[in-house]
Symmetry: C2
């Protein structure tokens, strides 16, 4: 903590991607400068320059010491901490927890890994908040975002996609599915949305369909039971590009529960490429 | 039909892969020479040499004419007709059915496409049989196939995999899942089992885990409601190689409902690489 500074309102524990910067901008625009702790190897260079502290790959011990000095009113995890490499997570936890515990956490999936981090912070009395509390403007509103809206066929596929994601909930996989008509073509795993869309683009059926009308949708929604403070589904301009290459008609996201990063650019990209981007209301628990 | 030949017992409509040859060998060994209709562009060169007729890519019209000449007692579809390219399917069906119907079939998934072919044959009075009727020896028996058996952790993962496949049934995706512990790492889509395993091998967590003990399983079972006469899950030596590269402990397949192609080689490969390969009893409808 710099001498003479007030106790900060918000501390951002910042990982990769655009979210930490967007969140910091949003908080500053609303009059509260956040304190930023950037994780080395995850946070972008732009963020690391702006950060109050840069700490080794998920070195939770140093992060805890840093927070103890700042005493923020609330803490948020933002950016790609949701999926650290296993080695990074091991480094981080091994200072505090046994290797057996870490291995068990990793084996049980991302959600459990994040719950471990959240547990460590909450045990120490920090109030953990999410983007939904800090900057709801970054989340997808309901309805079409750009010029285009899903037609009846796309709306049917979207409802089927929401049902498919709900069916997968107990198995800790899938914040996204790609459907064409009634058929689920791909379920997203740890490889992420972009790789999932590239898989669809690579299938023979996609190249055939690309010569005809656009068809198919990407549906993103949180897993049921997922801690929405630390892990929200996200889309951005890159998602639109990959959805276009896969020949899809558009992208549907759970409204209020999905980040739209670089919103203006994302919507412009969708309009330019002729895809819809729409927020769909799903239950508060993801389906 | 060659002059002077008897009406054949079995006609094999042969697609890609090893199955048509293995099936022909099995039938000849048991004393009935099958008539083989090989689909050009799908059937292997070895099969095309042995075939009685070689017909253009899924040219169903010519295939029907050929069968009308042979009048076989039963017909079987064998090999990779399960997943023709969309263009091939379109060529095939367009002679008989409207483009709209074909597009609808393709949109509804592999199962529906195959049901279309089956329907065309059955409308014409052919008795369609599967490998289960013709050569049950080609199917996985229950229990460990090689030296190794799944341990308690692997058995738990297998049961979870079977449940996951059952949950996916309404969505026409997934004859296979890969799990590590309680977590589903990948759901197989139209890309097939080998590509699904490569996806797992490419994930950061896999390379980390490979340095430690083997962990994780591939689970294969038919989708519920799938027509087992024309589309059975299959494993072979290549599956074992890819499962090894993904760092898995082994492979579980639905016994009596999964083809083990080149069985001796497949089991030898599993033993050599230290993976189990086991048949698991699941319900007659796949789960």
């Amino acid at each position: 903590m710099r001498a003479g500074e007030e106790r900060p309102t918000t501390a951002i524990l910042a990982g990769s991607g655009r979210l930490p910067l967007l969140l910091a901008d949003h908080l500053e625009a609303s009059g509260t400068r956040p304190r930023i702790l950037a994780f080395r190897g995850f946070a972008s260079r732009a963020l690391a320059r702006r950060a109050d502290a840069v700490i080794g790959l998920l070195d939770i011990r140093s992060a805890i010491a840093c927070l103890a000095g700042w005493r923020p009113e609330r803490v948020t995890l933002a950016g790609g901490l949701a999926r650290p490499s296993a080695a990074a997570a091991l480094d981080a936890f091994s200072a505090l927890r046994s290797r057996e515990e870490v291995t068990a956490l990793l084996g049980r999936g991302d959600d459990n890994l994040l719950r471990g981090v959240v547990g460590l912070l909450e045990e120490r009395g920090y109030r953990l908040v999410g983007v939904r509390d800090l900057a709801p403007d970054l989340l997808a509103p309901a309805g079409p975002h750009g010029r285009l809206a899903p037609d009846a066929a796309a709306r049917a596929a979207i409802q089927r996609g929401i049902a498919g994601l709900a069916a997968l909930t107990p198995f800790d996989i899938g914040q996204a599915v790609v459907l064409r008509g009634e058929r689920v073509l791909a379920v997203e795993g740890p490889e992420g949305t972009d790789a999932t869309l590239r898989r669809v683009a690579g299938a023979p059926i996609a190249s055939w369909l690309r010569r005809r009308d656009r068809d198919g949708v990407l549906v993103k929604a949180p897993k049921r039971g997922q801690d929405l403070r630390v892990d929200l589904p996200a889309v951005g301009p890159r998602t639109v590009v990959e959805a276009d290459r896969a020949g899809l008609a558009g992208i549907a996201v759970a409204s209020g529960l999905t980040l739209v990063l670089d919103r203006e650019e994302t919507i412009a990209e969708a309009d330019r490429r002729g895809l819809f981007l729409a927020g769909i209301q799903v239950g508060p628990d993801g389906a």
